[in-house]
Symmetry: C2
Subunit: 160 residues, 2 copies
DNA sequence: CTTATATCAGGTACACTGATATTC
DNA sequence: CGAATATCAGTGAACCTGATATAA
């Protein structure tokens, strides 16, 4: 534990630095994500999960029995990368992999009881950080923000 | 080189998956950032820079002669991490470090000619990806998005 | 044969904590 | 002494490309 306040938050003030509020929107997206990520990671320290691990457990709760390949697609990662994350989660006894006897090589991945408990506690720990994203946001602005985020996330990766 | 189109873009369709458009806004922020990051990294492949490296070079252009500690604060990273990134950039001859003889241990970091050129080419390569963020966005919506991003980036890291 | 899945092997850039030396 | 800077050492989770084996 550090002091009690912020960790390393020397954001350039709005009047100086990387042009503050008026900066490139890509820079703003980067910084917003970085700060939110820090808040999430800090919250997850209480349960020992990394952000990708939390993400995978959340996906497994939504898609019980998903395969590594499916999780990789959902996370925009390669199967190899997902394999490492899944291995780490398995080593921590938070998930289990059962070979799908009938359908070949596919490994059915599921949450263990411990994984379910850790996920529940992690969701609670993360709740405040997520709530902060929507605090003091009008429904019109929230709509605009949501539409923009979806648009950005839906843009082709290689449009040119 | 893959095919020619998108890399790994199997986003769950808007009607299925992680609740698509209606998902947690934190999830949307993550996905939007991930896709934008992929687009940026893809664009930067032409110049061989990683995203943190591009970020550091951009900062150095804005803050000529910054120190490693200053860059770390601007990037929300630890000095050790920044030291690694700076070392990699120095190894690539894109920056130079000169000991600040008068003021102790501080290392003055600056772009080399090659670094300046690479930065210029990288900015051009990245231009389309950044422009995509603002395409078809009304000025009201852009304002809402900008305000939201700044607010998120300004939130205390450890509010509770 | 083609496709999808899983995994091994190797490599790299990030990012952390901890410790140390230096300098103001 | 304390505070800031830089760096070494060690560790680790996340990424990648490439190759391989298996199975639908």
């Amino acid at each position: 534990m550090r002091k009690s306040g912020s960790h390393n938050l020397p954001l350039p003030g709005p009047g100086e630095g990387m042009r503050g509020t008026k900066g490139h929107i890509g820079y703003l997206l980067r910084q917003a994500h970085a700060v939110h990520k820090m808040r999430m990671e800090h919250a997850l320290k209480t349960t020992g999960l990394t952000l990708p691990q939390f993400s995978v457990l959340t996906m497994l709760a939504a898609y019980p029995g998903a395969s590594g390949a499916e999780l990789a697609r959902l996370s925009l990662l390669t199967p190899q990368t997902m394999s490492v994350i899944v291995s780490n989660l398995e080593r921590a006894s938070l998930i289990h992999r059962r070979p799908h006897e009938e359908h070949g090589r596919i490994q059915i991945i599921g949450l263990t009881d411990e994984g379910q408990q850790v996920l529940t506690r992690s969701k609670a720990a993360v709740k405040a950080a997520e709530a902060g994203l929507l605090a003091d946001l009008s429904s019109e602005d929230e709509g605009a923000v949501r539409r923009w985020l979806v648009k950005v996330a839906t843009l082709p990766t290689d449009p040119v």
